[in-house]
């Protein structure tokens, strides 16, 4: 006769008590490990959803980028075509010059050293081709009592490292003047005529046709003479750069970057042109595309954050429920197993007494009751896990129970739950082992 044989016979005899215990443990195992699996499954599923959303966002943005790039390329090509052969012109103004003043009166009041143009010319600047320094002032032509724009110009300053370029405009020689239409027309001057400006005599070397702009009241003269005349030797107030060319579509930015590195503080504006408007339209289009991209990204990011928050909330609510339910069920299960064990001990008082009378030790009696509890735990955990396996398809994540919890956890469950059942039955078992046999057997 072995202890195991005795336990098995007793279990077969008092089936209800044992079956109730097994069902209780099985339910607890089912709920506890089901809850665990559900939370793990939730994490797996949530991670999948978020990754999918992230991938979709990246795909949308990539598509948008591709479309934007395609549109930009088309626009760039169109601009290049429209700009072909035109180049573009820029003005370089002195540091600190208020640009509002330039726009309102057409020239800068501040000046900069004429060496600046040499500095540029001697640099390895690539975006600028023709450099034309100038000094412009609006003056009163005392001899003729009229207001004119006086521009001192100098011939093109060749850029040192490039091949010599063909000058775009002819310089005005010393002692000569070039007159705008309104001036030569109203003063009845023509090429070869002599006239006096601020006390100096000049020969009219060229007369421009009518342009309908400020050029019509402009006098062009040699830069050096102009500087002396205006008492600003060695000073200019603008450098005109013609036929600029850039590799990128953001040409003004490129030119600015390059010039700023050579002449820090100077201000560069493009001379008003259709090309400029087109370039600005392109920049605007790009800005719009970038803005759309940012908005899309923002929207998708917000959606992702909302989805994450929703999933987190769902997890938190599930976790909070489980964090109450599972400990409650585990506690309840331990209590039930304990109560059932107490009931079993109570039903077996006579048996305990006679066993002790037969010389069976208290350790043996303890092992009989703990062995029963251990078998109860084994039965419960096996049944609970089997039922859970039947329902594993209901768990989120589609990984199955082993995939979600891992084999190790299941092995620990198989080992740990019977130990817990023994723990729950410990006090009743101990009370059985310590039962005074005389109390049971004495009837006097």
């Amino acid at each position: 006769m072995s202890v195991l044989h005795l336990i098995l016979r007793e279990i077969a005899h008092r089936r209800l008590n044992f079956v109730l215990g097994v069902i209780c443990v099985a339910m607890t195992v089912f709920v506890a490990f089901g809850a665990w699996g559900m939370l793990r499954g939730h994490d797996v599923e949530a991670s999948g959803i978020l990754n999918q959303h992230q991938a979709k966002t990246e795909q949308i943005l990539a598509e948008m980028d591709a479309k934007t790039n395609e549109n930009m390329k088309k626009l760039e090509d169109a601009i290049r075509k429209s700009m072909k052969g035109l180049g573009f012109n820029i003005f370089i103004y002195p540091e600190g010059q208020e640009m509002a003043e330039v726009y309102s009166q057409g020239f800068a009041s501040k000046t900069m050293p004429e060496e600046y143009v040499m500095k540029l010319a001697n640099s390895e600047i690539v975006t600028v081709n023709h450099l034309l320094p100038r000094l412009t002032r609006k003056i009163k032509w005392p001899e003729e009592e009229r207001t004119v724009v006086l521009i001192g110009v100098r011939g093109e300053v060749p850029i040192a490292f490039k091949d010599p370029k063909k000058p775009l405009i002819d310089p005005v020689s010393e002692g000569e003047l070039v007159l705008g239409y309104e001036l030569h027309n109203s003063l009845d001057l023509e090429v070869g005529s002599r006239t006096t400006l601020m006390g100096q005599e000049f020969v009219v070397s060229k007369c421009h046709p009518e342009r309908g702009t400020v050029d019509d009241i402009t006098i062009w003269m040699n830069l050096k003479e102009c500087q002396l005349l205006l008492d600003q030797p060695g000073q200019i107030n603008a450098i005109l750069a013609l036929e600029c060319n850039c590799e990128t579509i953001d040409r003004l930015g490129e030119v600015r970057a390059e010039i700023s590195s050579i002449l820090p503080g100077t201000q560069i504006i493009e001379k008003g042109s259709r090309a400029l408007a087109r370039a600005e339209a392109r920049v605007q289009a790009k800005k719009t595309a970038i803005k759309q991209r940012e908005e899309t990204l923002k929207s998708r990011t917000a959606q992702l954050a909302n989805e994450k928050a929703r999933l987190d909330n769902l997890r938190n609510s599930r976790e909070s429920l489980m964090s109450v339910l599972v400990p409650f069920l585990v506690g309840l299960c331990l209590v039930v197993v304990g109560v059932l064990s107490f009931a079993n001990v109570r039903d077996r008082q006579s048996e305990i007494g006679i066993f002790r009378a037969m010389g069976i030790s208290d350790q043996h009696v303890l092992s009989v009751f703990l062995g029963r509890a251990w078998l109860l735990g084994c039965g419960g955990v096996v049944l609970g896990l089997l039922v859970l396996f039947l329902y594993e398809g209901k768990l989120p994540g589609n990984l199955g129970l082993i995939g979600l919890l891992g084999k190790k956890v299941l092995v620990y469950a198989l080992l740990g739950v019977p130990v817990l059942a023994c723990g729950a039955a410990w006090l009743p078992s101990l009370s059985a082992a310590r039962k005074d046999p005389a109390e049971v057997l004495r009837h006097d």
């Binding site: 006769m1 072995s2 202890v3 044989h5 005795l6 016979r9 007793e10 077969a12 005899h13 008092r14 006579s350 048996e351 007494g353 006679i354 066993f355 002790r356 009378a357 037969m358 010389g359 069976i360 030790s361 208290d362 350790q363 043996h364 005074d436 046999p437 005389a438 057997l441 004495r442 009837h443 006097d444």
Partner: protein
Amino acid sequence: MTDIVLKCEKVRKTFPAPGEDVLAVSEMDLEVGAGEFVGLFGASGCGKSTLLLMSGGLMEPTSGNVEVLGKSLYQASETERSAFRANNIGFLFQQFHLVPYLNVLENVLAPTLAGDLPNARESAIDLLKQFSLDHRLDHVPSKLSTGEQQRVAFVRSILRKPKLLLADEPTGNLDAENSNEVLNYLDEFAKSGGAVVMATHDPVALERSSRSIQLRG
């Protein structure tokens, strides 16, 4: 007198109670030798069962000494006492105390839980045959008559061949025929060299004992 199997010296047992402790056994001296069949009698509550339990090492006396086969039971540890009881003392009770979910053979083999017994199964079957229970081996106690149950209990108590058999009202639940049968077994056990101490109210049973002692509460 032959070899002393049981020796009680000034054994006293009181049970705690509110106010004054209840005296169950007072300064009792008892010697039982091998081959003796001693009957204890007295009024209910005079301490017969208490004396038997103290003699069997199941209840420690308040004072005095109990020796079985020269071993002072209550100077040994609980574990030693259990082992000693398993090998040397048998119990027989009025209520049989058969384990309800074990069949006849398993009930008889139950004492082997206390320790291995060579050829226990064969011995058990032989004994059950001797007591005409061989056709009941697979039957659970509830399927047996009271006489059969008491015989099973008797066989169980002698399986490990104890030197001392303590019987507490062994005929209390039996009819005259079955009582006689059980008394015959006890008598035979004593004649075979064992010592029997029986507590009883039954005058017929008392007449079968070789010595009777009256206890006064």
